[in-house]
């Protein structure tokens, strides 16, 4: 019975149901934190709504104007130095939490984006230009410069190494929801 129900529900919804169950169980165990949990959830939801719109617009524009052939040219195997620069810049400029950008990366990878560039894009999302004054305030300008340069450098290293590992161990879009 349980297996039959599980088979009918997509993996994405299974994940959501498990998250709800974990939240419900822990809220029962720690009732004092429940109010705070709801408040944080509500605030997070409000914060990501504009990002929802932004990511939706991005995916829509890509779907409308970029053909797989074009994406392969810009972000595919032969994109070269320009592809890296684009992935790094898009990563740094994109806003909101990283998980909001998974649908876009999923879409682009389906259309031919290199895994190395996908890794570099996601890694560079850690560099946030609007938050730089805050880093300077707490840790100083030298810290910001050193950390940012190293992160950009390591996004490329991670991209290269990650792609080699994924090719070697045969990543074939397994367990992907779409």
């Amino acid at each position: 019975m349980f297996i039959k129900i599980k088979e009918k529900i997509s993996t994405n919804w299974q994940f959501f149901i498990v998250s709800v169950l974990i939240s419900a169980i822990l809220s029962i165990i720690f009732p004092a934190s429940f109010g705070q949990f709801l408040k944080i959830f509500y605030n997070l939801l409000l914060n990501i709504l504009p990002v929802f719109a932004l990511v939706f617009a991005f995916i829509f524009i890509f779907d409308l104007f970029l053909t797989p052939k074009r994406i392969i040219k810009i972000l595919g195997k032969k994109s070269g130095f320009r592809g890296w620069v684009l992935a790094i810049l898009l990563g740094i400029m994109s806003s909101g939490p990283v998980y909001m950008w998974y649908p876009l990366v999923d879409e682009l990878r389906d259309e031919g984006m290199r895994d190395s560039l996908a890794i570099a894009f996601l890694y560079n999302r850690a560099i946030k230009i609007p938050l730089m004054p805050m880093i300077i305030f707490y840790f100083g300008l030298p810290f910001l410069i050193i950390m940012s340069v190293l992160m950009i450098l390591f996004s490329v290293i991670n991209g290269y190494v990650g792609e080699i590992l994924l090719i070697k161990f045969g990543e074939k879009n397994e367990n992907r929801s779409s």
Partner: protein, 142 residues
């Protein structure tokens, strides 16, 4: 053109609709972690010895939320005499490694992709931490 527009809109909506349960699931888990582990508790995890950088990396990887929170906590940790290397490990792993987001990332982008990316991010957070702390020491900043 109108047809192309509608096809693209439908494709985008389908893609987005599929990812909604995952995004909401992650939101729930992040809210839960933030509610159960208030940011003030992080300072108590550091002991002031050589294990602090490792603790920083581990806690930063598991903790989640806005990077602003990691900077504020990092600033407070520095004030509480936690070493710069531990704070750097904490901040870098907070913004680059996503243990809480891992199930969502593996569902949408593939388990191997998510695993490879996060392991590499964790390793680089340690290397970046060592480089950053060493360079800052050479420059005599901290």
């Amino acid at each position: 053109m109108k047809n192309k527009f509608l096809i693209a809109l439908k494709k985008t909506w389908n893609q987005f609709r599929q990812s909604l349960p995952i995004i909401f699931g992650v939101l729930l888990l992040i809210s839960l972690i933030q509610a159960l582990i208030p940011s003030e508790r992080y300072a108590s995890l550091f002991s002031g010895n050589f294990l602090d950088p490792l603790i920083g990396s581990a806690v930063g990887s598991i903790a989640s939320g806005n990077p602003v929170t990691s900077y504020i906590i990092g600033g407070e940790l520095l004030k509480n005499d936690v070493s710069m290397i531990a704070v750097t490990a904490f901040v870098v792993s907070w913004v680059t490694v996503g243990v809480i987001q891992f199930p969502a990332e593996s569902l949408m982008l593939g388990k191997r992709f998510a695993l490879t990316r996060n392991i590499l991010a964790l390793i680089s957070s340690v290397v970046i931490t060592i480089f950053t702390a060493t360079i800052l020491k050479i420059l005599n900043v901290y």
